[in-house]
């Protein structure tokens, strides 16, 4: 398997849109460090799964060669626009669409002008691939897929990339605890919404850093439930699947709040 790097990054647009707000600027700085680490690993392609790209029928994969435009987040439009210009490894993306039959999942490619990219994919691409030099393979979060199915998708995508001789960076885009503040706050003093959420986030990050996959598999369902983990933390299972369930440690480049929810930038040791 030719995986040269793996990262977990948050999908919230706030660190991208307003890095001058210190709590969010720390997350942005962590993302930039992750971007430098990714570049140093010299991958041919980034395999990215975003918790914010929803699918409900088939599993969706971007197959448009170039995605360029301006996106406005549906919640945080007041902080500005999210321009993007992303190249897609269409050969690998089509191969992933074909290969999902191996694991009993129906897939289709998406190749439409004006297709609405999600904020998470755009923000992660900005931080991890700032010059847009690397092509991406982008996979959606099918809302009906379980963590196990998502793990199988990640594994399959990495295997297909290996078959095609690609050097791969794996990226899971999504948050940790999912509770946000539901009223206006002073963003300068943003914090994790509750002590319990913070404790859960730190517990999970500690297990990730120690590469205790067995404990993670035991505790993640409870984390997902009690901390309202973003989309059941399926973005982590994407990474885990691609790494064939094994890594040797991790470095947390940043951890903090984005309007109360938990965000972390994690680089896996593989």
């Amino acid at each position: 398997m030719t995986i040269v790097a793996a990262f977990l990054v948050p999908g919230s647009p706030l660190p991208r849109l307003k890095p001058d707000n210190i709590p969010w600027g720390r997350i942005a700085a962590g993302c930039q460090r992750a971007g430098r680490a990714l570049a140093a690993a010299r991958p041919d392609v980034i395999l990215m799964y975003s918790s914010q790209w929803f699918a409900v029928l088939d599993e969706l994969w971007q197959t448009r060669p170039r995605l360029a435009g301006v996106h406005v987040d549906e919640n945080w439009y007041e902080y500005g626009d999210l321009p993007y210009d992303i190249k897609v490894d269409t050969e690998l993306a089509h191969a992933c669409v074909a290969a999902t039959r191996r694991i009993g999942v129906a897939s289709r490619g998406v190749n439409y002008d004006g297709f609405p990219l999600d904020s998470g994919s755009i923000v992660a691409s900005h931080f991890l691939n700032p010059e847009g030099a690397l092509p991406l393979v982008m996979a959606a979060n099918n809302l009906y897929h379980s963590a196990e199915t998502t793990e199988r998708l990640g594994r399959m995508a990495a295997e297909v990339a290996h078959e095609q001789g690609r050097r791969v960076a794996i990226v899971g885009v999504g948050g940790l605890s999912g509770s946000i503040f539901r009223e206006e706050i002073d963003i300068r003093s943003d914090r994790i919404a509750s002590h319990e959420d913070d404790r859960w986030n730190r517990r999970i990050l500690d297990l990730v850093e120690r590469a205790d996959v067995a404990a993670l598999r035991t505790e993640l369902p409870q984390f997902a439930k009690e901390a309202r983990a973003d989309m059941g933390f399926k973005h982590f299972y994407w990474i885990l699947g691609a790494l064939q369930g094994k890594f040797y440690g991790a470095r947390t480049h940043a951890y903090g709040p984005v309007y109360g929810s938990g965000a972390a930038v994690v680089e896996f040791t593989i």
Partner: protein, 320 residues
């Protein structure tokens, strides 16, 4: 300025398949038709709307999901191409719409005054959600009436159904006050499907109606039960059952538009006119109208306004 009033409310679901089946010039995708009974239902609704001659259409859509409060479109003209993220093969629609910003601001202010978190969306590059666009196209394809677009705050999903629908009740009353204060003759559009169980695979030919039927018999029975109550004007019973309907039929009315609309209208106990029912990829969709003008309530509500505003299907949940 005369006091504004609500002329009617429509249950106006937003499957993009209906636009696809109609083949309007704005949509890039072409079809051989499909979903005719629902599209004919919308034809009847269009005719009725035309006779009402409203100043403004207010639409509450479940596909503009906001986490922090209730948001209102606040840019005078919005245009672009709307591509459905789930059905991009069917819906790639070029739109241009005019927003009644003054009314939107009044709704926003009234809702804030009532204790809700509210925001005005002022970014001119904002992508209007496909739910809003499909509902507006299906009810008024001429696009010649200004609109107010309202987001679906995710409270019903994030907290619980009753708490969420209580917020929609408050939002509806605030909307009514804003309409009255600004002198508008308004029509409300609840962009909601009923039962929402759907198939997970699309037919090779999406408009092949030999493949279209209710995905779930229990969902279908729930739809018929609720529609029959609505046809009889048993509004109180509809709202008594609404949380159970939502749970057992996975009904999209959970997102709040239906409650918002009825709250704004004062929960009138008048028969709804069913323009038509049909399924779309298995989900249950009804096009229905509550015409307050025909019922003699559009004028009466100016007298009965205070009483209407005191009605509430979902009282504030007690805390602690």
């Amino acid at each position: 300025m005369a006091q504004g009033r609500i002329l009617a409310g429509f249950l106006a679901p937003h499957p993009p398949h209906l636009v696809y089946g109609e083949n309007p010039p704005q949509n890039e995708a072409r079809s051989e038709g499909g979903w005719e009974p629902l599209r004919w239902a919308y034809e009847r609704a269009r005719k009725s709307l035309d006779e009402l001659k409203p100043d403004v259409l207010l639409v509450h859509s479940p596909h503009w999901i906001t986490q922090l409060g209730h948001h209102f479109l606040g840019v005078r003209t919005l245009r672009g191409k709307s591509v459905d993220p789930i059905f991009p093969n069917l819906f790639r629609y070029n739109f241009e719409l005019s927003v009644d910003v003054e009314l939107a601001e009044a709704c926003c202010a009234e809702a804030r005054e009532a204790g809700l978190v509210t925001r005005m969306m002022r970014n001119p590059n904002f992508r209007v959600d496909y739910g809003t666009i499909v509902t507006l196209h299906m009810i008024r394809p001429q696009w010649d009436i200004p609109i107010v677009g309202i987001s679906a705050n995710n409270t019903p999903y994030y907290l619980n159904t009753k708490e969420g629908l209580h917020e929609m009740d408050v939002l509806g009353k605030a909307t009514r006050r804003a309409i009255e204060r600004t002198g508008r003759r308004a029509v409300l559009l609840a962009s909601n499907t009923l039962s929402h169980w759907h198939f997970h695979e699309e037919p090779a030919v999406p408009e092949d109606m030999s493949k279209e039927h209710p995905q779930n018999y229990e969902g279908y029975k729930w739809d018929m039960r609720m529609i029959e109550l609505m046809r009889r004007g048993q509004t109180r019973e509809v709202f008594r059952l609404l949380p159970q309907f939502i749970d057992e039929a996975f009904a999209e009315v959970k997102s709040g538009a239906f409650t918002w609309m009825f709250s704004a209208m004062g929960y009138p106990e008048i028969p709804g006119e069913l323009h038509g029912y049909g399924t779309v990829i298995g989900t249950g969709n009804a096009v229905m109208e509550w015409n307050l003008v025909k019922a003699g309530l559009a004028e009466a509500e100016q007298v009965l306004g205070a009483a209407a505003l005191s009605q509430s299907a979902f009282p504030a949940p007690s805390r602690g």
